[in-house]
Symmetry: C2
Subunit: 148 residues, 2 copies
């Protein structure tokens, strides 16, 4: 699990005060192989804090998402899901629809940078960001017959 010191260092770098709640959110997310909803995070935090409000969870998740530490995961239910990837390289995610586990997809295979360059060359547009999420069923779930 991510140690408190490292969480604090990241927060400092983001110019956010190192509060126990923020640290715990980061540690918790870093220990999760799956994406979580704000409510999921809240439930888990309740075991560490007696007083913790859902709005606080939303605020912390927003800050971390804005700072790029956390990635949003898109699901058809249009709730917001979060995933913290310790991998700092630019990359994307494979999301298992069955177990919610998230796996990294390496950048070399993605080719998005070239695509962005191509777009701006052809139409004069400036690419500022992109969303790339691969959905499916992971190998483990397939074996367990969890396929849809």
């Amino acid at each position: 699990m991510m140690d408190r010191h490292r969480a604090g260092a990241i927060l400092k770098e983001l110019q956010l005060k190192t509060t126990p709640k923020r640290v715990e959110v980061m540690r918790l997310l870093a220990a999760e192989p799956s994406f979580l909803s704000a409510d999921d995070v809240w439930q888990r935090l309740k075991s560490s804090f007696t007083h913790i409000g859902l709005p606080t969870v939303y605020r912390i998740l927003d800050e971390l998402t804005g700072a790029g530490v956390i990635t949003r995961i898109f699901l058809p239910d249009r709730k917001q899901y979060y995933f913290l990837c310790t991998n700092q390289e630019h990359h994307h995610h494979f999301v298992c629809e069955s177990c919610r586990r998230v796996e990294d997809v390496e950048q070399e295979q993605c080719g998005l940078d070239g695509l962005a360059r191509e777009i701006s060359r052809r139409s004069g547009a400036r690419v500022t960001s992109h969303i790339l999420q691969i959905n499916g069923v992971c190998g483990t779930c397939l074996k367990e017959g969890a396929a849809v």
Copy 2:
């Protein structure tokens, strides 16, 4: 603008009854170079129908999205936006954050199919879908100084 006959044909193919509301939603979306919210669509429909409910608009948009006729566009405001691309080839979209216009990005440049194959080869997962959306500011908006 997409003619009613073509809209009807598409609906028939989807095994949906050809109702005036559905036809008009398709025509309207096909004529839009930008993505629209359910509410946007509703407002536009009001000029064609006196009795038209917002839930109906949502239902129609859901049906068409599920059938793959309409693409969802993701924005930070977490509302749902829709865009109808007449281009039947597999492709993706460049979304201008300033004018909301959507431009096609051709498939050859994307390489996502290869990526999906690579993922399943390496981890045994099955890829069922993916989201790829390129965000930025289009050439026209850049010239107009609309850049953020």
